[in-house]
Amino acid sequence: MSLDRSDVEKIAHLARLNIAGQDIQEYAENLSSILDLVDQMQAINTDDIAPMAHPMDAIQRLRIDEVTEGNQRDHLQTVAPAVEAGLFQVPKVIE
């Protein structure tokens, strides 16, 4: 299976990745070879095998419903680029 330029552009857009125009061809080739490997694996018969949700053969441990985390706002917001009135500030997302 091979991806073309427009596939790569679409994936990059969905992932909000900025890719330089001259690199698109290389990405297309690398991603295509990964998909080729997947194609190769598809040849194996897995009819009798239930799909796994996780590679580890284990089940989820549960947490007791308790509040263990207090207010850490000042500490956590030291890494934020912009903060005002306790809110994280991001470029306006609607017109």
């Binding site: 969905l14 909000r16 949700a53 996780h54 580890m56 284990a58 089940i59 989820q60 441990r61 549960l62 947490r63 007791i64 419903d65 308790e66 509040v67 263990t68 985390e69 207010n71 850490q72 706002r73 956590l76 917001q77 912009a82 005002e84 009135a85 306790g86 809110l87 994280f88 500030q89 991001v90 470029p91 306006k92 997302v93 609607i94």
Partner: protein, 485 residues
Amino acid sequence: MEWEAVIGLEIHAQLATKSKIFSGASTAFGAEPNTQACAVDLALPGTLPVFNAEALRMAVLFGLAIDAEIGYTSVFDRKNYFYPDLPKGYQTSQLFHPIVGTGHVDIELEDGTTKRVGVTRAHLEEDAGKSLHEEFPSMTGIDLNRAGTPLLEIVSEPDMRSAEEAVAYVKKIHSIVTNLGICDGNMSQGSFRCDCNVSVRYKGEEKFGNRTETKNINSFRFIEKAIKGEIERQIDLLEDGGTITQETRLYDANKDETRSMRSKEEANDYRYFPCPDLLPIVIDDEYVEKLRSTLPELPDARKARFIEQYQLSEYDAMVLSAYRDLSHYFETTANIAADAKLAANWVMGELSKHLNQNDTEITASPVSAEMLGGLLLRIKDNTITGKIAKQVFEAMWAGEGSADEVIEAKGLKQVTDTGAIEAMVDEVIAANKPQVDQYVSAEPDKRGKMIGFFMGKVMQASQGKANPGQVQGLLKQKLDALANS
């Protein structure tokens, strides 16, 4: 050709856990921004989610309440999209193996029949934060307190055919989740939200029309208005030769209309895949059966019991059984007064009116069930008339004490002394000669109606305290004696 609407609903119920679905931060409503958002909620690198046992219990309890298949192995998936109030860049949700599978609820329609509405599934997921666009000129403010609050998304089959049916379904789900105690049901605070999928088609047609989804409507009344408006908009558009675009719309309560929010063409590419940070959740029969034994009485069962035990009408039983606190209030009042019908009338009438007018929850009512029961006892034993009872209720609502205290303090006791009533009756007859003459000269079968005038005068003279039955009897006796003399 006649049009038919097809409606399916997605309800998001915030589960009433103390902490978040994957972190130990508090879920309490109304805190200062970002004071309840920890490193996991902020998606800081290196953090990992740990699933909350209580969210699991609540989801399974809901599944049992709607007679649904329970997912013995359920899996969290990532739903990928970018928005600043979703710090991870994906929402942890359940697509392929939800915790609750196919179930159903029965709704009561206006004509008294019931209709079964299918529930396709209910899955666990996390709520997003809040974006505040208005506060700042060029930036958007983000509050992540809500991020990670556990949600149960309840997806219905497209089984509803009118706005009224849709509202009846939403109310039923609302009463189930609040009865189970798994959601506080507060719609204005966003604890219980509804997205409405609406399409129209010609009646009898199999194929569905293109649908629109109206998001996050936060009251029963708005759900009804938004759906009605959307059905009309689609029919108008189609009759004018237009087509319906599949899109997300927003309901504007001020204008009472829906408007386009975004088209789904690209937004739909969520690229779901199993979340590698979380292992499958596996539960067994023992766990499920233990939960089943903790199921409280649910509204449908309670409604049937109210009809059987108290001989209530279908409608009264439906209203009074919908919410645990309301049901408890009614039953307490009915038992004290030993009169279920009277209790039902007062709870659905005077009490509900006061609660609505004052925007008060029944649990915070200044007139407790015990107090109302005490008042009804005084109506039953003829201490006061029904009319005076409303006056006593007002006084109790204003905090002036119990029914007996108010009756005593205001001297509202009903006059049952025959001598006193007779004196008032004689006075009224003597003072209203023209009306007495009319009564005397009227045909006997017309007289019954005419007695109302004299009743009113006597009751007025007694300031509403005379026993109406006695007054009526004496009036009839005396007036008829005049007519026959």
